[in-house]
Symmetry: C2
Subunit: 275 residues, 2 copies
Amino acid sequence: MREAGKSNRYNIRVVDRAISVLNVLADGKPRTLTELSKEIEINSSTTFRLLATLLSHNLVQQEDSTGQYRLGLACLELARAYNTGDEIRRAALPVLEALRNVTKETVHLAVLDELEIIYLEKLEGLHAIGLMSSRVGRRAPAYCTGIGKVLLAQIDSDLVASQLKNITLKQYTDTTIVDEGELLAHLVLVRNRGYALDLGEHENDVRCVAAPVFDQTGKTVAAISVSGPKDRIDPTESNHLLIEQTTEAARTISGQLGYQNTITSSREDQNAEDH
Amino acid sequence: MREAGKSNRYNIRVVDRAISVLNVLADGKPRTLTELSKEIEINSSTTFRLLATLLSHNLVQQEDSTGQYRLGLACLELARAYNTGDEIRRAALPVLEALRNVTKETVHLAVLDELEIIYLEKLEGLHAIGLMSSRVGRRAPAYCTGIGKVLLAQIDSDLVASQLKNITLKQYTDTTIVDEGELLAHLVLVRNRGYALDLGEHENDVRCVAAPVFDQTGKTVAAISVSGPKDRIDPTESNHLLIEQTTEAARTISGQLGYQNTITSSREDQNAEDH
DNA sequence: AAACGTTTCTCATTAAATGAAAACCCACTG
DNA sequence: CAGTGGGTTTTCATTTAATGAGAAACGTTT
């Protein structure tokens, strides 16, 4: 999604073009054929045919007042299908449910894509809802979210460092880590601890605890978090319980995925309780 | 989704093919290149290229243990995008939230596609959850669900009758209406009442009340429902409240969409309380 | 009803998609 | 460990099928 989407050697041009139509429409703004054709720089005849094709499969639909094109219902169906095929989400869901109910706070499941995370699941907390900007399918920066940091921490440090060269660390709030060196050092800490905290680094009064989920092969495949407003999520003392609950839930999910936490590939960090 | 998806005159073949790959994978079952290529009857070279293209846009991804292909994360992102652009859902969400909280039961928003409904939104009831088979993006038959019936009831009766010719009404439970004549008569009743009941016609002990949502032009664009187990949702007396709550919520949403319920196109059915 | 902007359609050109088949890569098996 | 077989990746020549130009149809506005 977004950007061009690298055209690999074998890509079929029309398909690339069709997908770029979808990606353009993915900002939610409906467009006319002409607008689209200009935006993606494709001849209007071709755009017409692309739209006709997508239309016939319900991947786009036409607003019937204006005739403008928007994404279609088939997108929802694909997502449903994605979810049912997603082993991680399936394993996680009941555990997340329990975690939400015991903490009463909002719980997330997300994966990493480059330097961003994508939310796979969100269970609203039992207090006032709709306060957080996260949505299933939405992206958020990795370097300033609990889930993001815990996932970055599992990746080879040099790799992260080289990827960081491509972006600038935006200072969302006054706790956001914007210094690369500081971030890398922090990630080491996160890795050793086995969990990450987010002290309002992305959204000012949202705090969270996040922990990684491993699969059979020991690879980090996702992470979970519990988040809430700063006045309920305390970064220091009472957190011990929350951290324990979160990491325990993550361990349970990992277990479901076949992860054996006995003898792991990586050496240190296996002495569970060092926080 | 499903079936072939009529190839209109202007459809671009490769794009059709690419989409059929997605549709095949939409059952959640991962496949190898060869399996896919056989299933959709496309030369394996071409399938390879299709997959490469979809892969590069994250619409499909490869399981890294087996190398099999499944739907990818971009599907989630498209759905997110679809939702944010969806005016109906946006207008409905807060009202549904309120309706769920006051009834404490599961609330749905869905639209009609031919003789099936597709769920746009589901808010779980506040009792035990996960009992219903509905999911956002999933389809369900229209003729035996509250939402479905209320939507069918708004369509020209002859049109519905002719569409019904193409399917057989499966007897899901012993209250399912399987006789076409009876169904059509029932739909007239539903239309006049302005709401539909589902007395376990699809899932044995799920009952529901559903009401239609209209847009600016008076067209029926969606429907909402409140559903719960048969021991909590009473079809007769105490229902009056629930029916009133449901239809009122639907009216509110319609209002948000610009519907003026003063002078409506259709004549009768405007004397609200005839149940 | 004229003028404009957009969408739909036709057609000839040729780029780009295609399938056959070869090369390559693994995982098994003897 | 060589040999076999199934799958995947790559090449290449053929020709289909995608393409853009432009014309026609449509609809909206002045």
